[in-house]
């Protein structure tokens, strides 16, 4: 949507963006400054905004106090694996739902959405029992499968929305040129659907990265904990190590931001190449 820019709209636009950014960044400012504050300063009433002495050592200590790196790697494996699996299974399903006509389509769509109507918190006991039977408690693979399953509905719905909004004429043309359905899907549809796929990808990845309750219940070895659960180590019985908690949280956010920055290009390139020819 291009607007003719007069100075007032322009200023309003910048102001709006600025306010949103400030609100979003504020908690990170708090995390960062609090992590570097001493305990006395953190609980001071009417104290200064910034730490009087920046205690940088906390950003080093967390790596020694707990296997934070291991936690991050576990999270990466779980989120990456779940994303891959969810997208791989989601694309054919979404394709069938948007391009084919068959009996039970409505029922399937309904069932997919129904499957999301129980929060994982509710399903914990059932999940634990199931995973015990499959021998997948305390394993990253179990988490990958569960996260993929719980994000499957989101993936299918988002991808189907994208596919549906894209005309099938180009695939038809490709098929006339001798492409198979699968080839047409991969060569023609997927590139055009890139922005939607990227959105789905980010969505699933972030959901899996942030998942807490299932991992908490299933994982019992310290070395297999993802970061969301591992961070509990700073949340002890007698003390909460706020500084450590916040410092670790900042590090836990960075990988996702990096992933986003890498992927955002495709979102933009989808924009330029996105001549979704009607």
């Amino acid at each position: 949507m291009r607007t003719k820019k007069n100075p007032i709209t322009r200023a309003a636009l910048y102001l709006f963006v600025f306010v949103v950014c400030v609100i979003i960044l504020y908690p990170y400012f708090v995390m960062f400054t609090t992590a570097a504050k001493s305990n006395d300063e953190m609980y001071a009433i009417g104290g200064s905004l910034l730490p009087s002495v920046w205690n940088w050592s906390v950003f080093v200590e967390i790596w020694q106090d707990a296997p934070v790196f291991q936690y991050l790697m576990n999270s990466l494996i779980v989120a990456g694996g779940a994303t891959l699996l969810a997208i791989l299974c989601g694309i054919p399903a979404a394709y069938a739902l948007s391009r084919m006509r068959f009996k039970g389509k409505g029922i399937f769509m309904g069932a997919v959405i129904m499957s999301q109507m129980f929060s994982p918190v509710v399903l914990l006991v059932g999940i634990y029992r199931l995973m015990t039977n499959m021998g997948l408690t305390n394993s990253l693979l179990g988490l990958v499968l569960l996260n993929a399953a719980f994000n499957q509905a989101f993936a299918i719905w988002l991808l189907r929305g994208t596919f549906t909004s894209i005309s099938s004429e180009m695939e038809q043309a490709a098929k006339i040129d001798g492409c198979g359905t699968v080839q047409a899907l991969i060569r023609v549809l997927l590139p055009v659907a890139a922005p939607g796929i990227v959105t789905t990808l980010i969505f699933v990845f972030i959901n899996a990265w942030n998942e807490y309750t299932i991992a908490l219940t299933l994982i019992s070895s310290d070395t297999l904990k993802p970061i969301t659960v591992g961070i509990n180590v700073f949340y002890g019985f007698n003390f909460i190590k706020w500084q450590h908690l916040f410092a670790t949280s900042i590090f836990a956010t960075i990988p996702v931001i990096i992933l986003f920055l890498c992927i955002e290009k495709h979102l933009v390139s989808g924009l330029t190449s996105g001549g979704v020819k009607g």
């Binding site: 001071a44 699996l85 408690t137 198979g180 359905t181 003390f239 909460i240």
Partner: protein
Amino acid sequence: MKKILAMLLALAMMLSLFACGSGGTPSDGDSKTSTAPTETKQPDQQQGGGDKTAINVIISQYGNYTQEWWTQFEKDFEAANDTVDLNIEIVSWNDIYSVVSTRIQSKQQPDILNISGFADYVNDDLLMKAEDYTSEEVQKKIIPSFWESNAIDGTVWALPILASCRSLFCNMDLLNEAGVTEAPKTWDDVLTACQAVKDKFGDSIVPWGLDISTDEGQAAFSYYSWNFGGGFVDANGDWALNSAENVQAVEYIKKLIDSGYCNSAPYTDTRYPLQDAFSAGTLAMMIGPMNMVKADSTVNYQSSSIPGKGIGLGVCDQLMVFKNDAAPDQDARTAAIKAFFDFFYDCERYSDYMVYEGFLPATLDSSDYLASNAEKHKVGGSDATGDSEYFKTFCAQLPDCQFYPMQKSEWMDVRNGVISAEQNVCQGSISAQDALDNLQNEIAG
């Protein structure tokens, strides 16, 4: 042709799914202790291929370094008992009830559990009797009152893992500056002191720390009701939740809040940030456990008995052993569990853990030992050593403490009931008398 390709694609995806499903089996062999991967995955079935007896233990997280101590313990224990495969899992207090409940519902309970409260498990006949898995030596070590506190109708079902006791902490510098020369001894003194602090410092100091949250609101109920002369049970041990003293106590809590003496959100503030605020010198008084002040705190504080009757709250978490009918060799299992307790309660090792976490020992020999040898052991996560004086002082206070009536089967309902009553009364939605009458009817009526 195209259709076949499509099917191939779908097939490939399914295969990849199943390949993950089976191919992953070895991958979780990297969980830390596994000599036999199948055992780590289905820890409670204990069949495994090897002759080792697997024992699964859940330990609550008492401090930031609990995990480290138990990792070392696991290594040492396995070195000393090569027929046992010990798996120790540390779970934070935030989550332990949900984790354990989930396991029990899935019939995957651990062998040994460290938690607070055991009556519900006894009701369902899930636990083994303590005498079946403790050697005589261990039984003799445990402080008799603690041993008996875990008994229902004369049968002991759990062992005390550690103890703590709660008393009143005052920041003496702040109180002195506000013109209060000594720690309050009566509940009226408390009000006077709070007002003095408020007058002197205004908004910059919180006079009184209060936690009536879901997290531990029952502790507040104990502090006030016991020291107003009431309590959970009467002299016969029957529930007496709506006694006049209890009503008075809850009304007093409301008064503290309404007078503006407390932290702003007593309904959601847990004890931990309050303790940190006390350590930072912005909270003048609160009731808390003996190890609540941070080691590096510069606050000049004094700990004294809780105002009123001077009854402290003793907290004594338990270790308990679950039955496991599926275990292939019950004798080997029991022997392994016995070995675990012998190893854990060994005077030096147990004392080391007490210093490490800053709690009080529940055994006689460690109490004696720590009264003069605490300096030989390290505090978790630091190079500081224990302080014998600390153990001497607080171990002596333990006999004056009262404990929650955890052996009664309605305990968890009472616990949640008093928290709800406190919150409702302090919100002003119901009078203290009505709230406690309702609770009493619900529990005993």
